[in-house]
C-alpha cells in the first residue's frame, strides 16, 4: 500500500490531461514550459526520506526518481512519484495525470509519448534509450503487466 501522504496530489483526479494540455500548449517557449513544469512540481508532495528506498528507485534517469504503484480496491491504479529535480518532478506530474487513479484499460490504450510529442516535449523522451521519462513510463507499464 502506498502511504496516503504520498498520494496527496491533484494529478489524475482534479487535474486532467485535457487541462494540462491546454496549459502546456499555451506555454509557447521552452522557457515557459520549463517554468510550468517547476510550478506543477510544487503540487506534488516531497517524499519523506524513509520512503525513498532503493526498491522504488527508477534507474537510468538524469536525476533521482522514486516511484510507487499499487492497485486500489476499486481496480484503479494508484501512482506516487518524487524526484530531486523540479523539472523531472513536473514531468512526473504529467505522468501521474495520465496514470494515477485511472482504470487499467483506459491507460493501456493511451499513448503518453504521442501526447507529449503533440505538446512539443519529445526532447524529454529522447534523452536516451531506457533513460529518463521513457524509463519511468516503461516501469509503470511493466509493473502493471
Amino acid at each position: 500500500m502506498i502511504p496516503t501522504e504520498l498520494l496527496a496530489h491533484p494529478f489524475g483526479q482534479t487535474i486532467t490531461l485535457t487541462q494540462l494540455a491546454a496549459t502546456l500548449d499555451a506555454a509557447a517557449s521552452w522557457e515557459a514550459k520549463n517554468r510550468l513544469l517547476v510550478q506543477l512540481s510544487r503540487q506534488l508532495p516531497d517524499w519523506p526520506a524513509e520512503y525513498k528506498t532503493a526498491d522504488c528507485k527508477v534507474s537510468g534517469c538524469e536525476s533521482q526518481v522514486w516511484l510507487r504503484q499499487d492497485r486500489s480496491a476499486d481496480g484503479h491504479w494508484q501512482v506516487a512519484a518524487d524526484s530531486d529535480s523540479r523539472i523531472v518532478k513536473g514531468l512526473l506530474a504529467l505522468v501521474l495525470t495520465a496514470y494515477h487513479h485511472q482504470p487499467t484499460n483506459a491507460v493501456q490504450t493511451f499513448d503518453f509519448e504521442g501526447w507529449l510529442q503533440a505538446r512539443g516535449m519529445q526532447r524529454f523522451l529522447t534523452a536516451s534509450r531506457g533513460n529518463g521519462l521513457r524509463a519511468i513510463v516503461q516501469t509503470i507499464e511493466k509493473q502493471r503487466q
Binding site: G60, A127, R129
Partner: protein
C-alpha cells in the same frame, strides 16, 4: 526499366573519375551523394554527444543515432531496435559475438565454421576456441562452392555442436548459400546460428525474422554507407543472456571500485561514444537503398554478371572458381601460369580496378588449390560497357602475357 546512367550519377567518385571502371565492389562500395550529405548534415546541424543530453543538440544527436538504429532494424526486419548493436564493422561485430555469445559455450562444445568463411568469421571463433577449450568443426563445401548440406546435417547431429558460423554469401567465390534451409536445419538442432551478411546486404533482401537466425552481421562500407560502422543483430532472447564485452561509459549503470552494474541490452554492448555520424550515414544508405527498386537493381547486376561470365568463358586460359547455382555478381579467376597480380596491374593501367589475393579466405583458397585469385565484383552502378571493356582488356593482357 532500371536507368543505370541516372543511378551512377548519384555517386560523386564515379563522376570524378569518368574513365574509372570500378569492379572491386566486394571490397567496398562507392557512396551515393545522399549518404555523404547526410553525414555532413549531421555534423553541421546535430553534432553532439549522444545520451544523457540536457540540451537540444544532444537530443538531436540522440534522435539521429537512435533513429539510425530503428532504420537498421527495419532494413533487417528485426523484431525490435533493441536487437541492433552498432560496431565498427562486420569484423568487430563477429568479435563481439565470439566474446559475448561465445561465453555461453562450455569446454568441449563445438563450433561449426564453413570452409569458405572470410577470416573475420573464422579467426574470432578460433581465438575463442583456444581460450575456452572448444573445438572448431570445419564444414566442407561441394565442388560447385556451396555448403555441403549433408555434412552440415552430420555435424548438427553431434551432441556438442552449439554454434554455426556461416556466411550468407561468399566474398571469395560469390556462392549464395541456401541460408533459409541452413538456418532451419540449425534451429532444429538447437544450434545457435551466426550469419555473416557482409556480402549479402548490398544485393539480397534480408529478413532475420524469416530466417530465424540468432545473429546477423554486416559492414556499412559494403552497402553504400560510410566506413567505421557495422551492425550486429542479436535475437532478443539471446541478447538478454549474454555478458558485456568492452567496458566504459554508456554501457554501465553504476560504477564503483567495489563493483560495477551493467546497463540493460543493447546498451551494455556499446561502450563509449559510438560512431554517431557513421550510424547516421548508414541509415541514409539503407533508406536510400530501400527507396530503389531493389529487384531491378539485382536484375541489372545479374544480367551484367551473365555477360561477364559468358565473356570470361570465351577467353582461353581463364578459370572461374565457384559454380554455385546462385552467385553474387562476382567472379574469382585464375589464369594458369599467368599470375593474377600481373593481370590486375595491366587492368589497372587501363583504369579497371579489381582485387587480387586470398580475399581473406585462405582456407577456401587452399581447398581450391590456389594461392591467389583475381576477383571481379559488380555493383548496380556498373554498366554493360564496364564489363565489355574489362573483358577486352583482360583478353589482350592474357594474350600479351602468354
Amino acid at each position: 526499366m532500371f536507368d543505370v546512367a541516372a543511378f551512377k550519377q548519384q555517386f560523386p567518385l564515379l563522376g570524378h573519375y569518368p574513365e574509372l571502371i570500378y569492379l572491386d565492389n566486394a571490397a567496398t562500395t562507392q557512396k551515393p551523394r545522399c549518404v555523404l550529405d547526410a553525414e555532413r548534415a549531421y555534423y553541421e546541424t546535430s553534432n553532439a554527444n549522444v545520451h544523457r543530453g540536457a540540451h537540444r543538440l544532444a537530443v538531436a544527436a540522440t534522435e539521429a543515432y537512435e533513429g539510425a538504429r530503428d532504420t537498421v532494424a527495419r532494413f533487417l526486419n528485426a523484431a525490435s531496435s533493441d536487437e541492433i548493436i552498432f560496431t565498427r564493422g562486420a569484423t568487430e561485430a563477429l568479435n563481439l559475438l565470439a566474446n559475448t555469445v561465445g561465453m555461453l559455450l562450455s569446454p568441449g562444445d563445438e563450433i561449426i565454421v564453413s570452409t569458405l568463411e572470410h577470416h573475420a568469421n573464422l579467426v574470432p571463433w578460433q581465438m575463442l576456441a583456444e581460450r575456452r577449450q572448444l573445438s572448431i568443426l570445419p564444414l566442407g563445401i561441394t565442388a560447385s562452392g556451396e555448403i555441403d548440406l549433408a555434412e552440415l546435417a552430420t555435424f548438427l547431429a553431434r551432441p556438442r555442436a552449439r554454434l554455426l558460423a556461416i556466411s550468407h554469401a561468399s566474398n571469395a567465390i560469390g556462392s549464395i548459400q541456401d541460408i533459409q534451409a541452413i538456418c532451419d536445419m540449425s534451429r532444429q538442432h538447437n544450434c545457435l546460428t551466426a550469419v555473416d551478411g557482409a556480402q549479402a546486404v548490398a544485393h539480397l533482401p534480408v529478413d532475420v525474422q524469416a530466417l530465424g537466425c540468432d545473429m546477423y552481421v554486416f559492414s556499412g562500407h559494403k552497402v553504400y554507407a560510410p566506413t567505421g560502422i557495422g551492425v550486429a543483430y542479436i535475437h532478443n532472447k539471446l541478447l538478454q543472456r549474454i555478458p558485456p564485452w568492452q567496458g566504459g561509459g554508456e554501457m554501465i549503470e553504476t560504477v564503483a571500485f567495489s563493483g560495477t552494474r551493467y546497463a540493460t541490452p543493447p546498451g551494455h554492448l556499446e561502450a563509449g561514444t559510438p560512431p554517431i555520424a557513421q550510424a547516421v550515414g548508414l541509415a541514409a544508405a539503407l533508406t536510400w537503398l530501400a527507396q530503389q527498386d531493389r529487384a531491378a537493381l539485382l536484375a541489372h547486376e545479374t544480367a551484367l554478371h551473365q555477360q561477364l561470365e559468358d565473356g570470361l568463358r570465351a577467353i582461353p586460359g581463364v578459370v572461374i572458381h565457384g559454380q554455385a547455382a546462385h552467385k553474387l555478381s562476382l567472379s574469382a579467376l585464375t589464369f594458369g601460369h599467368v599470375h593474377p597480380y600481373d593481370v590486375a596491374q595491366f587492368l589497372d593501367a587501363q583504369q579497371i580496378a579489381v582485387r587480387v589475393g586470398h580475399h581473406c579466405a585462405q582456407p577456401l583458397q587452399q581447398a581450391l588449390g590456389i594461392t591467389s585469385s583475381l576477383r571481379i565484383s559488380l555493383a548496380a552502378y556498373n554498366t554493360a560497357d564496364d564489363v565489355a571493356r574489362c573483358l577486352a582488356v583482360l583478353a589482350d593482357t592474357l594474350d600479351m602475357l602468354n
